[in-house]
């Protein structure tokens, strides 16, 4: 298994990440953004019809994101190696790069890293002023009647993907953490931005 040895990313690696994301976006095959959004939303809608419960549907979509994210990171590890380090703070580089590479001109508007507290727990918060996943959801022909009743996050697929990304990167760094990611603010629910909070809790030694 590949092992990350670099402790922190330097200017050169960050620059490489910035160039790499543009290259990936330029070279990759594209699909219409609205179509992709509808694909995700109606996956949730049909899963809710199947399971009888939106919460279960959103959980399945998170699992879908996690499995898809795992596949993606294992496939692109060679490409990602130069921008990986053992520092949780540097996950910002992989987040920014993959965000741009997948979504084009959409960007992370705010990112903050919180160093380890007395229990060794580290935290990351990021915010986006625009979110393709919940755009127009209040007027959606299938979801408008259910939307107010749904408590979970429609970003569950995204959460799954990045939980997989971050867990795998930390695994390659030989760090044993529980990674828990939640959407703490949502544009469709009236918040001024989308906010994702990630908690990195060190696993007890006997669980490693």
């Amino acid at each position: 298994m590949y092992e990350i040895k670099k402790e922190k990313l330097g200017f050169k690696e960050k620059l490489l990440g910035s160039l790499g994301k543009r290259y990936m976006w330029m070279k990759g095959k594209k699909a219409n953004k609205l179509l992709v959004q509808l694909g995700f939303l109606y996956s949730v809608y049909e899963l809710a019809k199947l399971t009888g419960d939106y919460e279960k549907a959103l959980d399945i979509m998170k699992q879908v994101g996690f499995e898809a994210g795992n596949d993606l990171i294992y496939e692109s590890i060679e490409l990602a190696k130069p921008i990986l380090s053992r520092s949780i703070e540097d996950l910002k580089v992989i987040l920014n790069s993959s965000w741009y590479a997948f979504l084009g001109k959409e960007k992370i508007d705010y990112f903050e890293y919180f160093p380890p507290d007395e229990n060794g727990i580290e935290k990351v918060i990021w915010r986006c002023n625009k979110c393709m996943l919940c755009s127009g959801i209040q007027d959606d022909i299938f979801l408008k009647d259910d939307f107010d009743k749904i408590e979970g996050s429609f970003s569950s697929i995204l959460i799954g993907i990045f939980e997989a990304f971050f867990s795998t990167v930390l695994e390659y760094a030989g760090k044993s953490y529980d990674v828990k990611m939640t959407e703490t603010k949502c544009l469709a629910k009236g918040d001024p931005y989308q906010e994702i909070t990630v908690i990195f809790t060190p696993k007890p030694k006997d669980e490693e």
Binding site: G28, E67, M132
Partner: protein, 164 residues
């Protein structure tokens, strides 16, 4: 202020987001549900997408071949595709499928691109209900070949089940 859907319609994302979504979804659902149920869920997703998509992007005219080409270009860009006419319907063939991958080792029992047949079944049934020049009232879509199932190309067959 969030993005509105008209802006989304004019923007693009990497197709890999969908290409990874459906295989993972199919594999997770097959752990708890039978093949027939999973196929129906995937077709329903495509069908819902078509109904919503038509609110934002409607084709002109009633030439099925032209509509399929224009809509494919809008949804997935330029792809190597073909539309074949049959006595009882038509087929949409993708030599380069937007949802399947050629590099997978295990053949999928549910085609990764099955939602495309659900999409165009609903899409043309809506359009045909508004315009009798299509020559049919109702079609039924089936994915009969898929790259994810080990075929060289994907074929979605649309059978006319009700004529004007």
């Amino acid at each position: 202020m969030n993005l509105d859907r008209k802006k989304l319609l004019k923007s693009k994302v990497l197709v890999d987001l969908l290409k990874l979504n459906f295989p993972a979804l199919i594999s997770i659902l097959l752990r708890d549900y039978d093949n027939k149920t999973v196929r129906q869920v995937l077709k329903n997703i495509g069908s819902d997408m078509a109904e919503s998509w038509l609110q934002y992007f409607r084709p002109k005219g009633y030439n099925v071949k032209l509509i399929l080409k224009v809509n494919t270009k809008k949804t997935f860009g330029k792809l190597k595709m073909q539309v074949k006419k049959h006595d009882d319907g038509f087929s949409l063939i993708f030599y380069e499928c937007p949802l399947c991958r050629r590099d997978i080792e295990i053949k999928s029992e549910v085609p990764y691109c099955i939602s495309i047949s659900g999409f165009y079944e609903r899409y043309f049934n809506i359009l045909a209900s508004e315009n009798d020049k299509f020559g049919f009232k109702k079609i039924e879509g089936t994915t009969i070949k898929s790259i994810s199932g080990g075929n060289n190309y994907c074929e979605h067959y649309f059978k006319i089940i009700e004529k004007y």
